[in-house]
């Protein structure tokens, strides 16, 4: 049951909603969502052509981003046409919350499937991994010698896993010359010093975006967040609307920067994993690496033998796979 309002209160709400609409338009929110769709598409298209992403998954990702764009357009249209303020205030609160969740869910997909892989490939190509710190999954195979906390001088504090990606990015953007130079090229800045400063601000904003995501996730799990009390709804709407353009802008910057990073990461055309035992053994074989230890080479030889046997005769029993 929504509270009733006097005419004066309704006029206040109408001006409040007009303020929200004006702000979102001034910050070019619609344009930002278009850029998000375009920059995301660039990344998925590149991954599809590298055979590292299934076209159907790429379509799903594109659909997620398009859904963010449609939600934004719907919300702005409603703000333009809202007459019954008493009704729209609540509806807009729900819409903007759903929009944030959609934006973050799209970020999550890109982060796990595309962005982390580009960063990982870049690490390997430039031998940055062991120079700096120990990496989280899926980077652990090149782990050494410092943890993130050690690298940042905060040994006593633990960095929560959702902050690892932005924290690593910030550390690299400000401490690795090639990365800072790449950011300079991507953002068309003239000096390395300026690039360092802007790159740090960009990475800070990504960290802050993660803080906002966690806050929304935390708050939106509380029943009180959905209170029909007008001040609560208004407050939530005010906070979310103020932050929306900032979060969108950060994600667009992130996607654009990673498109540049992809050019430098040297990712080769991927090989599709085979299902079953052969796929599993090929995966193990790929991770064994060539080392100085004779034992590793022996294991590699045996795994290669097992793969070859399974390719020739898929029904080969397990006990005969590793026998010469």
């Amino acid at each position: 049951m929504k509270p009733t309002q006097s005419d004066g209160q309704l006029a206040d709400e109408s001006s409040f909603l007009h303020g929200v609409q004006d702000y979102l338009e001034r910050k070019q929110t619609t344009k930002l969502t278009e850029e998000l769709v375009e920059s995301g598409k660039e990344l998925t298209t590149a991954f599809v052509s590298l055979q590292r992403l299934d076209p159907s998954v790429a379509d799903q990702y594109a659909e997620r981003l398009l859904s963010c764009q449609r939600r934004t357009e719907n919300m702005l249209n409603q703000l333009k046409t809202s007459i019954d303020v008493n009704r729209w205030l609540f509806s807009l609160h729900d819409q903007i919350l759903a929009l944030f969740l959609a934006v973050y869910s799209a970020y999550e997909c890109f982060h796990k499937t595309i962005l982390e892989r580009i960063l990982y490939a870049y690490f390997r190509k430039h031998n940055l991994v062991s120079e700096h710190f120990m990496l989280p999954e899926p980077f652990q195979e090149l782990a050494r010698p410092m943890s993130i906390e050690e690298a940042l001088g905060t040994e006593t504090k633990t960095v929560h896993s959702c902050y690892e990606f932005p924290v690593i990015l910030r550390f690299l953007l400000t401490s690795s010359e090639p990365m800072t130079e790449l950011y300079r090229i991507a953002t068309k800045l003239s000096t390395i010093e300026e690039s360092k400063q802007r790159a740090a601000a960009f990475a800070d904003n990504l960290i802050h975006s993660t803080v906002i995501r966690n806050r929304i996730a935390h708050m939106s799990e509380r029943a009180s967040y959905y209170s029909a009390e007008e001040p609560t709804v208004r407050r939530n709407l005010q906070e979310l609307a103020a932050l929306l353009p900032l979060v969108l802008e950060t994600l667009v910057d992130l996607f654009l920067f990673f498109s540049k990073l992809l050019e430098e990461a040297g990712l080769q055309i991927g090989t599709r994993k085979r299902p079953g035992k052969v796929g599993l053994l090929e995966c193990i074989y790929g991770r064994l690496g060539k080392g100085d230890l004779r034992e590793v080479d022996d294991v590699r030889r045996l795994v290669a033998l097992a793969i070859s046997k399974l390719r020739d005769r898929p029904e080969t029993p397990n006990e005969q796979l590793f026998v010469s």
């Binding site: 206040d12 001006s15 409040f16 303020g19 929200v20 004006d22 702000y23 601000a201 800070d204 904003n205 802050h208 803080v211 906002i212 407050r235 005010q238 906070e239 609307a241 103020a242 932050l243 900032l246």
Partner: protein, 191 residues
Amino acid sequence: MKRTVYTVERAPRDQVKIDIDQVRGALRTSLLMTAWGDHYYGVDFDKGLESRIFLDGRIEVRGEAEDPCKAKTEEILEVLREALGTISYEDPVTKNVRFEDEIRTDIACVVPDEILTIVRERLSHSCDVKDVSFSFRKTKQVDEVTISFERPAYREGSTEVPLRLIVVAPTKEISGQILEDIRNKLETNTK
């Protein structure tokens, strides 16, 4: 659409060190301000004001009228004082005034053909001017004037195009006069 935006700043007095992060809870509860980059950020939609508190303690408020901006700096300061105790701040000062207006002009009046030719040769013959920006600074002074032309509706091949002209200057008089002069000049040239 014409728009004027004032930026009002309020700085802590010398020697005052403020740890804004220490009061992040109060900033969010009382002012709905959130950490963002090197500052805390919040928007008051009722008053149409954007507020920032920088990590060095500087308060910056932007809005379409000067007095509400000044009043907002006082409101923010009250919250800081409540959380941090007595702190000493300078009086609010208007840092700059931004004037925006829509104009129609031939893009060649803004970007000389010689420059456009170079870019087209180096980049692509089909490329066209999007946004243009100029900055001017008085020698040995911090006063700056920025003039920019944004092209929101980009249409390939058109010569006479709608542009958003933006002038940011230290005072309302200077920015208003510069904007008016530029508009008159460009629109006359186009005719």
